[in-house]
């Protein structure tokens, strides 16, 4: 791997030197390194680009890393990764995409990730997106995440996009059966003329299924963000969606919440807040000795932590 690869990997997956657990590293549209373990098998798909990841049932606690890096300008990479998580398995999956584009052609990565959780499986899924480089070519990421949860399973997804991605449409879909829980937390910061759109669709089909979707974002300069969420309760269930955005400069933020209850015992809540940084927060930090710019930065850092 070149230096640039190592740096990108560090940004998106905190991989620095040895990687713990199973992994598959993809660079410029091809797998370059892979390791499997006793409990985690990774197979290359034969009908399309991508991999199948199999986690054995009752796996106690393991890490799976599947980072993607793109350093070739003008490349459009579409990849299909399917995660099959066995009964009662417990894994942490760290995915992410880093694009370095110093040229004028657009670079794009569209990762389609599907998660199939068997009964009682527990997954923590961490996804980080990052772009860098001085070229005029755009860095585009359009991730699709589909989550299918069988009885008693739970998935916690953390998704972060803080820097350098020019355009993104992020689509996340969850289908939940009985006694399941899906927690999604999204953090986005946009600047320049970037565009970020996220769409969350969660179907609470099972008794006692629940979801909590939290989106915190900061839109600066001339960037545009759009947040859409559709939560449907088809049984006795609980759903909570919270969209909280800080807006600065000439940015634009649109929040389109939708909740649908098809069952009398469906309990669904949506909260959406868009606003600039509160003046009183700035004043408080200034009374501690920070100037206005430093105060603003601290508030944003805390908000996106």
């Amino acid at each position: 791997m070149e230096n640039i690869d190592v740096e990108l990997l560090k940004e998106i997956s905190d991989i620095d030197g040895n990687i713990e657990g199973a992994y598959n590293i993809r660079k410029n549209g091809q797998g370059i390194e892979r390791k499997i373990t006793e409990n985690v098998n990774i197979l290359t798909k034969t009908d399309k680009q991508g991999i199948d990841i199999y986690v054995k049932e009752n796996t106690k606690f393991e890490f799976v890393h599947i980072p993607v890096i793109i350093t070739e300008s003008g490349l459009k990479d579409v990849v299909y990764n399917d995660f099959h998580i066995g009964k009662n398995a417990n894994v942490v999956i760290i995915a992410g995409c880093g694009i370095h584009n110093d040229h004028h052609k657009d670079s794009e990565h569209d990762g389609i990730h599907r998660f199939f959780l068997e009964e009682g499986a527990r997954v923590k899924y961490i996804e980080k997106h990052y772009g860098e480089g001085y070229g005029t070519g755009k860095r585009i990421l359009n991730p699709v995440t589909e989550i299918y949860q069988k009885d008693g399973s739970s998935l916690e997804m953390e998704t972060v996009q803080i820097k350098g991605v020019d355009s993104t449409i992020r689509t996340t879909k969850g289908v939940l059966e009985n006694d399941t829980n899906l927690v999604i937390s999204e953090k986005i910061m946009t600047h320049g003329e970037q565009f970020a759109k996220t769409i969350f669709t969660v179907d609470l089909n099972g008794e006692n299924s629940s979801t909590k979707v939290t989106s915190r974002s900061v839109a600066t300069e001339k960037s545009v963000q759009q947040f859409e969420s559709h939560v449907t309760g088809n049984a006795k269930c609980f759903g909570h969606v919270e969209c909280d955005a800080i807006i600065k400069d000439d940015a634009k933020v649109i929040a389109i919440p939708s909740i649908t209850a098809n069952d009398i015992d469906a309990n669904l809540v949506h909260e959406a807040t868009i606003g600039k940084i509160a003046g009183e927060q700035l004043i408080k930090l200034m009374t501690l000795g920070l100037d206005e710019k430093q105060a603003e930065q601290e508030i944003i850092n805390g908000f996106l932590r």
């Binding site: 909280d244 408080k284 200034m286 501690l288 601290e298 805390g302």
Partner: protein, 236 residues
């Protein structure tokens, strides 16, 4: 250490502060009191630079700070505890203590400070300063973040506002302890007789003017005698 010269402040055609002149000494404990609307909080905010006076001068340790922004006053050694503590999203108690201390303070040191304001430190140090905290908890955290700054001058704007009686009794104790622990000058804006009683000097404001400045005993007696016109000690 602090000198206010002919401070005037008018809003909506109402003279909120009318030619206030005051001189405060080092290492003294002052309470500014007076009826609602007498201009106490406005005066505190003008000292800190949160509000700017229309006329007059603020001199701090010999330096004219009348036109300095809040943060520069803070860096010269001023601290300010808000009447209504500000809430944040994502910023923890530990973060705020570190920002205030201006140095790499350890978690243990942060916990020690929280214990001094009567909070079970382990439970609070990593909590976000958001609406999940009660009024009394926020107040104590506010006091801790201001105390850790070790300011030459610390201003508390109505620390008793919005807290219950139980928390109030503890709050008085905190101030009594703080008197022994902290150096520098303290100004408390307060309506509370028990806070007035621990002051070295009381400044009584009325309709934007200084009515009286004097020793606690003398002023408290005068205020209580006049309590039919000065609403004191009512809310808690």
């Amino acid at each position: 250490m602090l000198e206010l010269k002919n401070i005037c402040f008018t809003r909506d055609n109402k003279k909120i502060l009318d030619n206030i002149s005051l001189e405060l000494e080092d290492n003294k404990f002052y309470v500014i009191t007076g009826p609602n609307g007498s201009g106490k909080s406005t005066l505190a905010k003008i000292i800190m630079g949160i509000n700017n006076q229309d006329e007059g001068q603020v001199v701090f340790n010999g330096k004219d700070i009348s036109n300095l922004p809040i943060n520069e006053r803070a860096n010269l050694g001023m601290g300010f505890a808000f009447q209504q503590p500000v809430k944040f999203k994502g910023i923890t108690v530990y973060d705020l203590i570190k920002l205030s201390a201006k140095k790499n303070i350890s978690k243990k040191e942060a916990c020690d400070i929280l214990s001094k304001v009567g909070l079970c430190a382990k439970e609070y140090v990593d909590r976000e300063i958001n609406s999940s905290l009660s009024g009394g908890e926020l107040k104590r955290i506010e006091i801790a973040t201001v105390a850790v700054k070790n300011s030459k001058l610390t201003i508390f704007d109505e620390p008793e506002a919005g807290i219950d009686l139980w928390s109030f009794n503890n709050l008085i104790k905190i101030f009594e302890d703080m008197r022994k622990l902290t150096k520098g000058t303290t100004i408390i804006i307060s309506h509370q007789e028990r806070i007035l009683n621990i002051a070295d000097k009381i400044i009584l404001l009325n309709e934007g003017k200084i009515d009286k400045v004097g020793e606690a005993k003398e002023i408290v007696g005068t205020i209580l005698a006049k309590s039919n016109c000065c609403k004191l000690g009512g809310e808690v």
